[in-house]
Amino acid sequence: LAKTTQPISMDSYEGQEVNITCSHNNIATNDYITWYQQFPSQGPRFIIQGYKTKVTNEVASLFIPADRKSSTLSLPRVSLSDTAVYYCLVGPPLDTGRRALTFGSGTRLQVQP
């Protein structure tokens, strides 16, 4: 199982763009990169998933270089409500392989006014 490394914490201000980078040097060919968000007293929530290049949805963008050994979650113009823990997960899709999510310790993002 590919190990992920991400910063323990990050600070930002409202309106800024936040980029959280995750390293996954041992990513396997059939692994996808998935990001989850967790607010205090809630369960994690899916944000975005990608395999290569760039993926964008209404919440975030995910940038994956050609070697796929790292990925960057980009949150445009953050607000106070984006304060949360962000988890980078690497593994096969839930309908293949291990079929379960493996979480690390995540990145605690604090957005200041």
């Binding site: 369960g43 899916f46 839930l94 309908d95 079929r99 999510l101 310790s105 995540g106």
Partner: protein, 117 residues
């Protein structure tokens, strides 16, 4: 559509007492997971069900933990007897595995915060 529902939200018990958590997954989801989350850490898988079958319980401490998913819908996780180190948030999640749509995510409940004193 209702999400994953867990109860109770909070539970405080004395050590050596039993405790049970209940989970109602999203309707139609065939896969159900129980995770445990310690303070400041990410969730750790305890057990995964596909329909009513426990297909991965390698991380479940079987001496005191048990789980069941009757009829492949609701699930119960039990601890007996509880220890101080069991204090954590217990999260239930569900997903739809298989079918024609590519599965992308699991949906989590709000969790049950257990405090053992």
């Amino acid at each position: 559509e209702a999400g994953v529902v867990q109860s109770p939200r909070y539970k405080i018990i004395e050590k050596k007492q039993p405790v049970a958590f209940w989970c109602n997954p999203i309707s139609g989801h065939n896969t159900l997971y129980w995770y445990r989350q310690n303070l400041g850490q990410g969730p750790e898988l305890l057990i995964r069900y596909e329909n009513e079958e426990a297909v991965d319980d390698s991380q479940l401490p079987k001496d005191r933990f048990s789980a069941e998913r009757l009829k492949g819908v609701d699930s119960t996780l039990k601890i007996q007897p509880a220890e101080l180190g069991d204090s954590a948030v217990y999260l239930c999640a569900s997903s739809l595995v298989g079918g024609t749509a590519k599965n992308t995510e699991a949906f989590f409940g709000q969790g049950t915060r257990l405090t053992v004193v």
